[in-house]
């Protein structure tokens, strides 16, 4: 069991008895893969999603290991809670009184931890909660209506949605005596990585998102680009899967999303290096290299990224 999983088990056991089954089942409920798992690392994929403060801690020599551990868990609870809200909004998770209470308990536990890392962090976290909540609503409203969306709006909404991912790392930096410049650089590095991962995920998973019926960023971005090409509003809203896919491919939206992700990783790498957050710089660099290989293939063979993901597990087993 990973550190996060054992800490989460502790959180579950601290809850009133009737909430425990809902909380214990949350990892399985939140994941999108077909493979049942209760390990948060499997459910949420990238380590950054759960352990951002640990990746920035080396930048601050005065950090206290116990505070790193607390910040990491506070961060994980924040991400889990936001993920729960997102799934409810997407109607992939049934809203219930028990679930609402579990999500509330997650926020409360997180706030207690953040407060012990750095006084003032709770205020940041509450503001981030609000930003994320608004962004989730805006995202679902736009995508469900199949609205045409610009890349600027896509970035703005994505950044707001990811807001809950930064306060714990900022709190850790502040507690370790980081200067304003260091805090700013840390946050920019984290923003870069978080946006990069989101853009990559949204490009690779767009067909799954679309199939679930809540719309997909790639489709809305393609619609906007089609309008730009035609010079008029694209009223037609295709729902037939092949037609939608052809449009997404023709508008080169997946390539542009991956290119935007690369730009974000590059920014993250620069700031992570500047502040001395080596693990974050290394992670950004790895994603950069990965996209350097993928971008030309996506440019030549539209949809490559989606197909590569679909066949990825097979390829890594059989072809390596």
């Amino acid at each position: 069991m990973s550190g996060i999983d054992s800490l989460y088990a502790g959180f579950v056991s601290s809850l009133p008895e009737k909430l425990r089954p809902v909380a214990a089942d949350l990892p399985r409920q939140l994941q999108l893969s077909a493979t049942p798992s209760r390990a948060w690392g499997t459910v949420l994929g990238q380590p950054l999603a759960l352990e951002a403060p640990r990746l920035v801690a080396p930048a601050f020599p005065r950090h206290e290991p116990e505070k790193v551990r607390t910040a990491v868990f506070a961060h994980a609870l924040s991400v889990i809670e936001a993920c729960g809200r997102d799934r409810v909004a997407e109607r992939q998770l049934r809203a219930s009184e028990e679930l609402a209470k579990v999500l509330h308990a997650l926020r409360r536990a997180r706030d207690g931890m953040l407060d012990s890392v750095w006084p003032g962090a709770v205020e940041l976290a509450v503001a981030a909660d609000r930003a994320t909540e608004e962004a989730i609503k805006e995202e679902h409203a736009l995508l469900r209506r199949l609205s045409a969306v610009s890349f600027e709006d896509y970035r703005r909404i994505s950044l707001a949605k990811l807001a809950v991912g930064f306060p714990a790392a900022v709190a850790l930096a502040r507690s370790a005596g980081a200067s304003e410049t260091q805090v700013e650089a840390t946050q920019r590095a984290l923003v870069g990585v978080a946006l990069g991962l989101k853009f990559e995920d949204d490009a690779g998973d767009w067909e799954d998102d679309w199939r679930r019926g809540g719309g997909a960023w790639a489709v809305s971005l393609a619609r906007r680009r089609l309008e730009a090409v035609k010079g008029q509003s694209a009223d037609e809203r295709p729902t037939e899967p092949d037609l939608v896919r052809r449009r997404v491919h023709r508008m080169r939206v997946l390539y542009l999303m991956l290119r935007a992700a690369r730009h974000q990783y590059r920014t993250a790498w620069r700031y992570a290096r500047a502040v001395g957050a080596e693990p974050l710089a290394l992670f950004s660099e790895q994603r950069l290299r990965h996209l350097d290989g993928l971008l030309p293939l996506e440019a030549r063979h539209a949809g490559y990224v989606v197909r590569a993901l679909k066949l990825g597990a097979w390829a890594s087993e059989v072809l390596t």
Binding site: A34, H301, Y304, K310
Partner: protein, 102 residues
């Protein structure tokens, strides 16, 4: 006299890699591949039915075209595994069977 080693193009691993690349590079191939796999009956029995054999033959013929005639063909076990990956989207299938059959 020892058996001759397969040429690079005939090596089963190379053939699979070329099929993989071919599917990645063309959406229409991926779609057709998936469509034919969908037609392949997902029944777990020892003997391949006539219908299944026909579908597999069509699939192998198409792959052969995509790879310019340099493909030995997928076995029933391989088609069933591809089906579980591409159609049923099961990512943790027992891929070790691939290695054994190649």
């Amino acid at each position: 006299m020892p058996a001759a080693a397969p040429s690079a193009a005939n090596d089963p691993h190379t053939q699979l890699r070329r099929l993989y690349t071919s599917l990645l590079e063309e959406q229409h191939r991926f779609d057709e591949f998936k469509q034919l796999l969908t037609l392949y009956p997902a029944v777990d029995c020892e003997e391949e039915s006539l219908e299944a054999r026909e579908v597999r033959a069509r699939l192998n013929a198409r792959i052969n075209e995509w790879l310019s005639g340099q493909f030995d063909g997928l076995s029933p076990a391989q088609v069933a595994l591809w089906r579980s990956i591409v159609v049923e989207e099961r990512i943790n299938v027992a891929v070790s069977a691939w290695k054994e059959t190649n």
